[in-house]
């Protein structure tokens, strides 16, 4: 408010601030007491129970194999998310296309990969070698085509490798997690694209932009605002799901390494606690990153931005009209 406005209104009067006795909350004190006792019992357990074997845990949670596993876990998370997001965008765009074949295919993709549990999917991927001992690139159905032309055992192949060589832990893990992630990301991206006002696509179309241009330049950048927050959650879930890779198995992975040490030394529990601590640390880092990402992508938009502007407006009002005369 500016000075001329207030000068026209009545002069503010002095007032005695209210001094009242606050309402008592005995329930809170009871709750504090109960929680304090439970916390004390928990700390007592941690300190006195020999099964925790803290010195052993601290000695072993920073060993080179564990650190390599840690790096592997982070690498797999990043790779699986990158492939998952890119593939997810492709599937989402296909799902929203005019082409019924693409729409059906992408629907079937999301249906399949959302229905199969990740753990089961990873075990299946680890055992694909049973299906095809060798993977080869060549003409599809070559033996049948050969028979049509009177050739027995026609093999028109360019090159091939042993499945066991290709599907070594790491890449099976990345691929399995990425394929599954793409199905979820497709749903998230689709929701994001549907959240963009259809008038935006229309305006881009009316300007003569192609579907691809409208998508890349107009729709997707705006959909990002809706896509980013759940993608942060997906990344965190993905980091935790790397522990499922023990099913493939993937050796360059945190949980595999920690439980290997536990099994070898018969110190299972300390290593499980070490796993919990590592995951807590990693997820906490991601949570910080997610906070800043969301802040960045909500710039200039939506309720949060409007609320902020309103707060700034209120602050300005307070500044102009100090409460204490």
């Amino acid at each position: 408010m500016t000075a001329p406005d207030t000068s026209a209104s009545p002069v503010p009067r002095e007032a005695e601030p209210i001094k009242a006795i606050p309402v008592r909350h005995p329930g809170r004190w009871v709750a504090i007491a109960v929680i304090a006792v439970l916390a004390a019992m928990f700390v007592h357990l941690l300190v006195t129970n020999k099964a925790f074997n803290w010195p052993f845990m601290f000695q072993n949670m920073f060993t080179p194999p564990v650190i390599r596993g840690l790096v592997g876990t982070v690498t797999i998370t990043v790779l699986a998310m990158i492939i998952g997001v890119v593939l997810g965008i492709v599937v989402a765009v296909a799902r929203l296309s005019d082409n019924p074949i693409l729409r059906g295919t992408s629907w079937a993709y999301t249906w399949f990969f959302r229905a199969v549990p990740r753990y089961v999917l990873l075990i299946v991927m680890g055992n694909l070698g049973i299906l095809w001992p060798r993977l080869e690139i060549g003409v599809p159905f070559d033996t049948y085509l050969g028979k049509l032309f009177g050739l027995e055992n026609a093999h028109w192949r360019l090159f091939g490798i042993e499945t066991r060589e290709l599907l070594v832990g790491f890449w099976v893990g990345v691929l399995g997690l990425a394929l599954s992630e793409a199905a979820y990301m497709a749903e998230i991206v689709r929701a994001g694209m549907l959240s963009v006002d259809p008038g935006q696509d229309e305006a881009a179309t009316a300007l003569g932009m192609s579907r691809g241009q409208a998508l890349r330049r107009v729709v997707l950048p705006q959909a990002m605002r809706v896509i980013i927050p759940p993608t942060g959650n997906e990344t965190i879930a993905m980091l935790k799901d790397t522990s499922l890779l023990i099913a493939v198995p993937v050796t360059a992975e945190l949980f595999f390494q920690l439980s290997a040490i536990g099994n070898r030394t018969f110190q299972v529990f300390p290593m499980l606690v070490a796993a919990i601590i590592w995951y807590l640390v990693l997820v906490s880092i991601l949570l910080v990153g997610q906070y800043f990402l969301e802040k960045r992508f909500s710039r200039g938009y939506g309720r949060a931005a409007k609320a902020k502007m309103k707060l700034e407006g209120l602050a300005a009002e307070h500044g102009a009209n100090p409460e204490v005369p």
Binding site: E202, A203, A206, L207, G208, R217, V218
Partner: protein, 270 residues
């Protein structure tokens, strides 16, 4: 108005200008069972401003969206600058145009929407230069220079770096006009450009449109602004129930409407 004739393409010996900018012939459009357009014949000569009036639900916005093929028509023909919109006539067969060809046609037709539809993640200038650089492949510096000229023309050069959320409705709509003009269209379509604006912001947008009309742009304007129709309209079309009920010079239609439905509508809005 010229009499409709079954011209396919502009004949080589046809002097430029003889062909009207927009010609529609018996245009029909239905959404499901609802017949929105039931035979629209309209001719807009080059440089004319055609104002479309009518009650809501009369099909006037749909008609406008058919002209740049945002809506596919069910029957009839639309020509813009002598070329069939959305289709190609080969012999006695009509072929659908490829998306790319339709996009190329749309480049020459500017459109301004009721709800502005500016791109909220781009500043005003970026909104204006987006299509020239992306679609026409114009050099960024040139596009920027031209974009600033256009923003200046609608009186918003000082708002070039503001995002749409920082602009008033009237300013947003003028940026939208500049954005459409940046593609150097031959024809401009306005879909109720002032209906979403606060009354005190309408004037600036109408001024920008009048300026455009005076520069000789062919315009089809769906609006409720009777004053605008009277002042700059060369012809007025009154639509109701998916047909053109009455058309003619704006002063004549507005002062001495012939059809009872036109009289009824005008008595309500005037």
């Amino acid at each position: 108005m010229t009499t409709p004739q079954p011209a396919r393409h502009r004949a080589p010996d046809d002097p430029a200008g003889a062909e009207p900018m927009v010609r529609t012939e018996n245009v029909h459009k239905a959404f499901g069972h609802v017949k929105v357009l039931r035979g629209i014949d309209v001719t807009v000569p080059r440089g004319n401003v055609c104002v479309v009036l009518g009650p809501s639900g009369s099909g006037k916005s749909t008609f406008l969206r058919c002209i740049n093929h945002l809506e596919k028509i069910d029957a009839g023909r639309i020509w813009v600058d002598g070329r069939l919109v959305g289709y190609q006539q080969k012999g006695d067969k009509l072929h659908e145009l490829h998306d790319k060809a339709v996009a190329a046609q749309r480049r020459e037709i500017g459109m301004v929407f009721q709800r502005f539809n500016l791109f909220p993640h781009m500043c005003a200038l970026e909104n204006v230069i987006e299509a020239p650089t992306m679609v026409k492949g114009q050099n960024k510096a040139d596009a920027r220079r031209r974009g600033m000229e256009l923003l200046d023309r609608v009186g918003l050069a000082d708002k070039a770096l503001n995002y749409p959320s920082q602009l008033s409705g009237g300013q947003q709509q003028r940026v939208a006009i500049a954005r459409a003009l940046a593609m150097d269209p031959k024809l401009m379509l306005f879909d109720e450009p002032t209906s979403a604006l606060d009354p005190e912001l309408v004037g600036d947008v109408l001024d920008a449109m009048k300026d455009l009309a005076r520069s000789g742009m062919t315009m089809v304007v769906v609006t409720h602004e009777i004053g605008f129709a009277r002042e700059v309209g060369d012809q007025l079309i009154f639509m109701d129930g998916g047909v053109v009920v009455e058309s003619g010079p704006p002063r004549q239609v507005l002062t001495t409407p012939q059809h009872p439905r036109t009289r009824d509508f005008l008595s309500k809005v005037l």
